[in-house]
Symmetry: C2
């Protein structure tokens, strides 16, 4: 079914603990999400960049067979969002070295008419009012999921609460779930968010995997998955967005004959997201997401599933 | 097969974030380990307490059908080890409020002759020289596993390195594995410890589960399991020791027809340990470990295994 994502396309500068730095590489939540999701099927991208956005990166996006970038607005006279990050020795922590919002401070990109029947919707991290505006343009949505971050919990909580009440799922980091709810226990925090409206919540824990809760007719189901144990982590940027891309791509395109959205289906989707994130962090930018084959993905998924089999 | 554990039996005072405090409760690594392991079969305990050790707590230990406390030395004129801890809101962090080593500063307890043919050996956290002394009294050991902590890495590294070179497995916390090896990446840290001698390493990550590596004829296998998602955490004291108890109890007593020690068998053992720890933290001291039935354990193990099944 049709999948749409809205978020940022940016130009990143990333400094890793090994001292290796990459300047002006393609990044942004929408880029990582789409590069992951498109391994499962078509993804329609809605984002805005400036006219400084390099042709090389337009070509990179076009190189992904299943990304439709008709909704990528290249805005004349504007500048592309830029972000710089420096990772600590522990890859789960980073400092933002600079943020040039540029085009993100202007009006949000328009949703092309051709995208408006979207059934699977992912609202990558952004101002919740903008996420809400996007959501309202997609009346045929079947499953809408939003990501958020501490900034919006701190400065736009009212808008965020409205957003959370209108989406089917919320994806957020461990510390953000605690900040949003006041609960230090992750299960309690995730259940608290269920009370705010969505039918499922995914708490991302970086190298420690994820915890998820889902409400259905039978009550509340709870699950947890580890991360894929990665020894080689070059650049964790985009891990969370490609995790979400793998999850949503699977949900939108790989039904596996299951008509209903169940905890097991969510779990399978999160396992696919986990595998996708494990490839992303093996190198910078979208490089690994561009090079993995269907066989690579299937092999690592099988390995991950086998690792989790206990008798 | 015969299982022996050596470690501490102590009297704890625990303060939890809810403000609930319990004074003078039964604790110590050997107590938690044994109360967990004995659900799988007999466990022989080697520890020392003072003659102040309450009769009530001797009765508590005797209440566990499969704990043999013949090796619990009640030393006349000595005082029992006492420890106080205060947990932060995040249950994974605690402050030690006091430590009265008492009997732990005296000569280590003797290993009864009847225990000396032990095949499965667990050396709970303690000075590595004492752990080594224990190990040398157990010449028929088939699988010896040690726990350690940051204190010994900092003040007794040479002894610890000798110990690590002589055991089959090492169990330690996330931050301790980083401290011991200088590797921030958990997989890299665990593999580095393999180079120090043992054939497997288990890195405990508290609420985030565990990561493990094992060397066999085919190379190095890597795995990771989440914790059981627990909403109700009253007192995490002893979680790590009962995790180890569940693991070793399974390895010593539940062969499941597998003659060899494989990564899959270690994984199953760690899943049993995870389930055991999830019960321990539901209340104070050994209370929950004393009340769980075989059916409770089997039910939660099945639930955990089902939670980890992805297709």
């Amino acid at each position: 079914m049709s999948l749409i994502v809205t978020g940022t396309i940016g130009i990143d500068t990333v400094e890793t603990p090994s001292g290796e730095t990459r300047e002006d590489i393609l990044g942004g939540s929408c880029a990582y999400f789409s590069a992951a999701a498109q391994h499962h099927g078509k993804v329609n991208m809605v984002a805005a960049v400036g006219d400084d956005f390099p042709q090389e990166y337009r070509d990179t996006l076009d190189g992904f067979a299943n990304i439709d970038r008709q909704g990528l607005e290249i805005r004349s006279g504007s500048k592309t969002f830029r972000w710089g990050g420096k990772y600590h020795d522990n890859m789960d922590h980073r400092d933002t070295t600079f943020t040039d919002l540029n085009v993100l401070e202007e009006a949000p990109p328009a949703v092309p008419d051709e995208y408006k029947d979207a059934q699977y919707v992912f609202l990558a991290n952004g101002h919740p009012a903008v996420q809400l505006g996007m959501l309202e343009q997609l009346p045929n949505r079947k499953l809408a999921v939003a990501d958020t971050m501490d900034l919006w919990i701190n400065i736009a909580l009212d808008d965020l609460k409205i957003l959370v009440s209108k989406v089917d799922g919320l994806v957020l980091n461990f510390d953000e779930a605690q900040l949003l709810t006041g609960h230090q226990n992750t299960v309690a925090a995730a259940k608290h968010i269920l009370d705010m409206g969505p039918s499922f919540v995914v708490v991302k824990k970086g190298e420690h995997g994820c915890l998820f809760v889902m409400r259905d007719n039978e009550g509340i189901g709870i699950g947890s998955l580890p991360a894929y144990p990665a020894e080689k982590v070059i650049d964790p940027t985009g891990a969370g967005d490609s995790f979400a891309g793998g999850m949503m791509g699977y949900l939108a395109h790989d039904h596996g004959g299951e008509p209903d959205f169940t905890l097991d289906r969510l779990k399978a989707a999160l396992a696919h997201g986990t595998v996708m994130a494990s490839f992303t962090i093996e190198t910078f930018s979208l490089e690994r997401l561009a090079s993995i084959s269907t066989a690579d993905l299937a092999e690592r998924f099988d390995e991950f599933a086998r690792m989790l089999r206990v008798h």
